[in-house]
């Protein structure tokens, strides 16, 4: 594909100003939809880990003879 045919493609018969924003919205919305729960999952696991760590410290302080959970 040479430069002029690429330009022709991008121009979309004069409708580029409508067509490419439509495709951009499609991809941006779906990307956001896809990554939002993955970020939330990472945050959840991090919070859970720190909660478990705090709980472990508390249990060790209360019981001088540490009982190791399986």
């Amino acid at each position: 594909m040479n430069a002029s045919s690429l330009q022709h493609f991008l121009a979309m018969g004069g409708y580029a100003g409508y067509l490419w924003p439509a495709y951009a919205v499609f991809f941006i919305v779906l990307l956001a939809d896809f990554f939002a729960p993955l970020l939330r999952r990472r945050r959840l696991l991090r919070e859970l880990r720190s909660r478990l760590a705090r709980k472990a410290v508390r249990q060790q302080r209360q019981a001088p003879t540490p009982t190791e959970p399986a």
């Binding site: 493609f9 018969g13 409708y15 924003p21 919205v25 919305v29 729960p37 993955l38 478990l52």
Partner: protein, 253 residues
């Protein structure tokens, strides 16, 4: 025999840790299929398909607009069905599937409205008109947002899920209204050109990229849903042993 093992199999899949693993295994495959079919559909729609004799290249918005519109209704159907299961049998997984379908459905409905608007401006001369098809699709977006809002409005997540499932179930009335609106009322919006029964009134070179994109959005929905359901299950079951194992073990899987 069948009636004995099928419910058992379903029952097992319905248990959160089993479904978490099941969804985790399938999710990358669904995503890969979505990207592959999506890329083929984009090439077919943007490069290979001929320009329309009336609309020129503007019609190429169809390849994302129509699959998104189909998904906005399809996902509502899945959400309504899962909401029904959740309300009648109080299945936790059904609640999660219903509640996590709502944001994906809302995303597709939003895309449908925006791409339709961007298509309407050069073709109809207006971004928006209050006709039956456009208005009922906007109502669909509000129903999705209502379900999401109601779900998060309750302190107790499961109580919120039940209230939102009830709204989702009532709102299913809107799905046939959206679908048949172009037949029932006079509208600027064109009628359907793709028919399950009888010949479609669309050129084959335009039809196959459209159907391939439809397939891509279906795969995408499953990939997104699996990711969302996994996250929600971790949240809902954060006190359980299986979640603790995942949290303290490797950060992945």
């Amino acid at each position: 025999m069948m009636s004995k093992w099928i419910p058992l199999w379903l029952h097992k899949l319905g248990s959160p840790p089993t479904f978490y693993r099941f969804a985790g295994t399938l999710r990358p495959w669904m995503l890969a299929l979505a990207l592959l079919t999506g890329a083929i559909a984009l090439y077919g729609g943007l490069v290979m398909a001929p320009a329309d004799y009336q609309q020129g290249d503007a019609y190429r918005i169809i390849f994302i607009h129509v699959p998104s519109a189909w998904m906005s209704l399809f996902i509502y159907g899945v959400m309504g069905f899962a909401a029904f299961l959740a309300l009648v049998w109080r299945i936790k997984l059904a609640e999660v599937v219903a509640m996590e379908s709502a944001p994906i459905g809302a995303a597709f409905t939003f895309i449908t409205l925006v791409t339709g608007s961007l298509w309407g401006k050069p073709m109809w001369g207006t971004w928006w008109t209050w006709d039956a098809r456009l208005t009922s699709e906007l109502v669909l977006l509000f129903l999705y947002l209502g379900v999401i809002g109601l779900y998060h409005a309750f302190e107790d997540r499961r109580q919120g899920a039940r209230a939102a499932a009830f709204l989702a179930l009532i709102g299913i009335i809107n799905v046939p209204i959206v679908h048949f609106s172009v037949n029932w009322w006079n509208t600027l919006h064109q009628g359907s050109t793709i028919r399950l029964l009888g010949p479609s009134t669309i050129a084959p070179g335009m039809l196959w990229p459209l159907l391939t994109m439809m397939l891509a959005t279906k795969f995408y929905y499953l990939a997104s849903l699996f990711g969302r359901v996994r996250t929600d299950l971790l949240d809902l079951e954060s006190g359980k042993d299986w979640v603790r194992t995942i949290a303290t073990g490797s950060t992945h899987q």
